[in-house]
């Protein structure tokens, strides 16, 4: 072996030992999770701990005539029963929402949705607490309710929110009706209208992104423990954003923030459900403060599906104007947003409809106008981002369905129409009509790779053949080809436009190298299954040359972790991942000074190589990061303080814009409405790839949730406001049997402004997947004249569609 190849081998071995960025590092978390040694909230058990449970409203809209808790209090084992009357003197019967509204913690005079919290029973065990909820006597006087958001603003509609009925200006401007929350407008209305008036071709359809729920396998839960002697509250909870929860608890309880210890331990999935603050948290905290003992609250599944937030419920009237040959000239969208009884959307404060204005998608659309009207209805409040950045699934659904409709009208191929309108690689950074500056992208390359992978042309030929066979009566199976080319906007976000309750949406990392060269890093985010303990360590490993196995990542404890805004909206990698790279580089800069001192050379004479600084031109003269770490504590250079650590609060200069090309091939039996996904191909471009194994896992999971949403999952209400199917008996969560097999692929277009070029990936498959499935179904039925088929596409609805198309005559 010659000298050079030996150096290369040595180098490759050292790189491999780091387990840094780009490798399929096995997860650190799995050691405990596979042995049942995870530590989730319901595993927390404290001496003297009591259990809370809610009395909930059976009505969607009713006046509370009286609440009698005496029978419940008399039950042995019951310690306390809280009602709004108990919370009101403390000013806690309402709590602020993230959207600038207030939300009832316990209903005072009225209930506004079924299963709304009315009283909180605290007892010695969860069985007794549950028994006692049935002994609280509440007399209701039922009121007419609003279930259909299109009826919310009718002149004679019942007024839902009497607490704010005279307040005709809300958090986001004037309200047009007592049941109106906000109107949000963006874009060029006049310019858009002018283009539409003159356009060759226009389309207009309403796409309903129906109400559903993130439904992580672990429900929302907490344990509140007040130490009355020290005046300190410890709150364990299923919090995607523990630091924000601490700030909120401080603001509403009056306890100083430093005397509140919020701990988010292992979390059993979040998907947006665990961003907000819920009545259970407030009541547990109040219970513990009043009683001086720990109080645990654990939602059951029905409570989870019917009360702690929902997702979607956007009714999007979408219009495109185009030339005859398929160049899109303008887009106009009006959204009717059903926010339920309280506006508890989890969006950055200035964005009442999230980032819905990403709805121009991957296309170069010169002018656009978007209006969103939010309204109250008698349904659960929320509007969380279910595995997506804020309202991005909705936005992508609108544009990706709309281009399909336009293609159909023009008689153009849907892939060809997309390619024709793509933002071109040379147009980046691209200023979109509705305000965003897309950082980077190469859409044609991704689309070409995807079309070749699925043999798109051949699929269309096969489809044509099958359609002819269907017409001849030779088959009852139809074939749909679904396409989605999505662009996400994630990594909220720059402080100029993103804050939560006034706190800018930075995120943070604090890295400390110990004398022996191992590392602890603490983060402002909080994993709920994304594998942060594994992947953050990979970033540090590559940046600092310390093996990932020697790096411990900690999150979720507000006492020790730096303040961060948490994990949702695919922001961990774009924001905290950047913080960790920047903090690493601060350490590296100091390490270089120490290395120069150790080697008795000028700093500028050193170069970094894998895990060491070496003298330029003299590779045998080097100091490894491990040696440097020891020196930092043992004999730091004069005038340099000891130690080797850094903190970074990263302010992202822009969002990141992951994108992807998805194709779905579906076969549907028109007589049963059963749709089988024959093939699903997902190409994602999330920029620099930190751990391909974890990326693939994220894509699989996101696609499965997209499949669920598109093909069956729904939170429905009957006309009385009864929530239908709030259990896993009825709420569709696919098993291993129904779930399609996923094929994944990728291109890499690094983000130009992110320190390591990464963009985030956890939510892309969901965002891109939902329209892809829906487009497949719509495409399958298009030749039968089906028009716009709304989700969810479960067999019963597809059978009904077949019936309406006269397929069973």
């Amino acid at each position: 072996m010659n000298q050079q190849s030996q150096i290369d081998t040595d180098r490759a071995e050292r790189v491999e030992k780091l387990q840094g960025m780009g490798c399929k590092r096995k997860r650190v978390e799995d050691i405990r999770f596979t042995q049942g040694k995870g530590n989730y909230v319901d595993d927390v058990k404290l001496p003297g701990m009591l259990f809370g449970d809610f009395v909930r409203s059976p009505h969607a809209h009713a006046r509370i005539v009286s609440i009698d808790v005496s029978r419940a209090k008399a039950l042995p084992g019951v310690v306390a029963v809280l009602t709004a009357a108990d919370l009101k003197p403390l000013g806690l019967h309402y709590m602020p929402t993230l959207a600038g509204d207030v939300q009832a913690v316990l209903a005072e005079e009225k209930v506004l949705f079924q299963n709304q919290e009315v009283a909180f029973v605290i007892a010695e065990d969860r069985y007794i607490a549950s028994d006692a909820t049935e002994l609280v006597d509440v007399v209701y006087e039922a009121l007419p309710c609003i279930v259909d958001p299109f009826k919310s603003m009718e002149p004679d509609a019942p007024i839902l929110r009497e607490d704010i009925k005279d307040k005709m200006t809300g958090a986001h401007g004037p309200r047009k009706h007592p049941n109106h929350i906000f109107e949000w407008q963006i874009g060029d209305q006049k310019g858009t209208d002018e283009v539409f008036a003159k356009a060759d071709v226009t389309i207009k359809e309403m796409f309903v992104d129906h109400r559903t729920h993130p439904s992580p396998l672990e429900t929302c839960q907490c344990v509140a423990s007040m130490d009355k002697i020290k005046g300190e509250l410890t709150l364990w909870g299923t919090f995607q954003a523990p630091h924000v929860i601490r700030t909120v608890v401080s603001l509403i309880s009056g306890l100083p923030e430093h005397k509140i210890h919020v701990i988010a331990p292992d979390i059993g999935g979040g998907f947006g459900n665990k961003v907000g603050a819920y009545s259970g948290y407030v009541c547990s905290v109040v219970g513990s403060i009043v009683l001086g003992v720990p109080v645990k609250w654990v939602e059951d599944r029905m409570e989870n599906l019917s009360t702690t937030s929902f997702a979607r419920d956007y009714h999007m009237t979408t219009e495109l104007a185009a030339t005859k040959d398929g160049k899109i000239l303008a887009m106009r969208v009006h959204v009717l947003a059903d926010h339920g009884a309280f506006d508890a959307c989890a969006d950055p404060s200035k964005w009442p409809a999230g980032f819905m204005n990403i709805c121009t998608g991957s296309y170069d659309i010169p002018v656009a106008h978007l209006t969103v009207d939010g309204v109250y209805t008698n349904k659960a409040s929320g509007g969380v981002a279910y595995r997506c950045s804020f309202r991005v699934t909705e936005a992508v659904f609108a544009i990706e369905r709309a281009v399909e409709v336009l293609a159909h009208k023009l008689g153009m191929d849907a892939a060809e129409l997309r390619i024709k309108n793509f933002i071109k690689p040379e147009q980046f950074p691209y200023q979109a009509a509705l305000g965003w500056e897309y950082d980077s992208g190469d859409y044609p390359t991704a689309m070409k790779k995807a079309m070749e992978a699925v043999a798109y042309k051949e699929l269309r030929q096969e489809q044509a053949t099958k359609r002819e066979a269907f017409h001849r009566g030779e088959t009852r199976e139809i074939m749909g080809i679904g396409i989605s080319f999505f662009t996400e906007i994630v990594g909220a976000g720059p402080s100029k436009n993103c804050d939560i309750l006034g706190v800018a949406m930075f995120d943070s990392a604090e890295i400390r190298i110990h004398p022996t060269g191992s590392i602890i890093a603490r983060m402002g985010t909080k994993s709920q299954g994304q594998g942060h303990e594994t992947t953050y360590a990979q970033i540090i490993a590559t940046e600092l040359g310390i093996p990932a196995d020697d790096i411990m990542i900690e999150e979720g404890n507000t006492d020790t972790a730096p303040y961060g805004l948490g994990t949702y909206g695919s922001r961990s990698t774009p924001v905290a991942g950047a913080a960790i790279a920047v903090a690493s580089r601060k350490i590296k800069a100091k390490a270089q000074m120490i290395a120069a001192h150790m080697l008795e050379v000028h700093e500028g004479d050193l170069e970094w190589e894998v895990d060491r600084f070496r003298v330029k031109g003299l590779p045998e003269k080097f100091k490894t990061m491990k040696e440097i770490a020891w020196s930092a504590y043992h004999s730091p250079p004069p005038n340099l303080e000891a130690g080797l650590e850094a903190v970074n609060y990263y302010e992202p200069p822009n969002m990141t814009y992951p994108f992807g090309a998805y194709f779905c091939v579906m076969d549907i039996d028109v007589d049963t409405g059963v749709a089988k996904t024959r093939r699903f191909y997902a190409l994602d471009d999330c920029g620099t790839r930190i751990n391909p194994m974890i990326i693939e896992g994220q894509v699989h999971g996101g696609l499965t949730e997209a499949f669920a949403c598109a093909m069956g999952q729904e939170i429905r209400y009957d006309e009385m406001g009864n929530v239908m199917g709030a259990s896993f008996m009825d709420f569709f969560l696919p098993t291993a049997v129904e779930t399609p097999k996923w094929e994944t692929d990728y291109t890499v277009t690094p983000s130009p402004h992110h320190p390591i070029g990464a963009k985030g990936v956890g939510e892309s498959p969901h965002v891109g997947g939902v329209p892809c499935f829906s487009n497949a179904v719509n495409d399958a039925y298009a030749f039968l004249g089906a028009g716009n088929v709304q989700m969810p596409h479960h067999p019963w609805r597809l059978w009904e569609l077949g019936e309406s198309l006269g397929l069973y005559k």
């Binding site: 799995d30 596979t34 989730y40 396998l217 672990e218 896992g697 699989h700 999971g701 969560l733």
Partner: protein
């Protein structure tokens, strides 16, 4: 409520306890025995996060009263690792093939898979998918769970599983 005496074996240890007749097995295991690996996900028997092995059958412990476990032999996730403390073939398979993310369904999933491989040591992919249909996972999309079980089956049977090398 009057309590009833039960005697059962959990992970090889004999347990005697007094329980209320209405106490669910999952609460007994988690709160009386402090074995918190099995989880509660749905309360209706659909999700399988609470799956344990009872007398050589997969049982959803949220659908079973503790008194029904009287006289039985139960294995929970805490009793799955090899006697020397190393990960069992299935535990290793789940880690190697990235068959878990949040970890909440994993204990139930592994217990179910362990029983499946007892019932059918060389399952096809379809048999695995049907075999774990009583256990929901919200994170993985199942592809890698299936591979994890294939990995374990191959390891137990001494056959090869090429994807394990990736």
């Amino acid at each position: 409520m009057p309590k009833k005496q039960i005697t059962l074996t959990v992970n090889g240890k004999t347990i005697e306890a007094l329980v209320e007749p209405r106490t669910l097995l999952i609460h007994f295991i988690r709160e009386h025995l402090n074995l918190t690996g099995a989880h509660i996900g749905c309360d209706t028997g659909h999700c399988g996060a609470c799956t344990v092995d009872m007398d050589d059958m997969s049982v959803k412990s949220c659908m079973t009263f503790a008194i029904q476990a009287d006289g039985t032999n139960i294995t929970t996730i805490e009793g799955v690792a090899n006697p020397d403390g190393t990960l069992s073939a299935l535990q290793e398979g789940f880690r190697m093939m990235h068959g878990l993310q949040c970890g909440y369904c994993t204990p139930g999933m592994i217990l179910r898979a362990q029983r499946l491989l007892q019932e059918n040591p060389i399952p096809t992919e379809e048999e695995i998918r049907y075999g774990i249909a009583g256990n929901l996972c919200r994170c993985t999309g199942y592809v890698n769970i299936v591979k994890a079980i294939q990995y374990a089956a191959a390891k137990i049977n001494g056959t090869s599983f090429p994807e394990a090398a990736e």
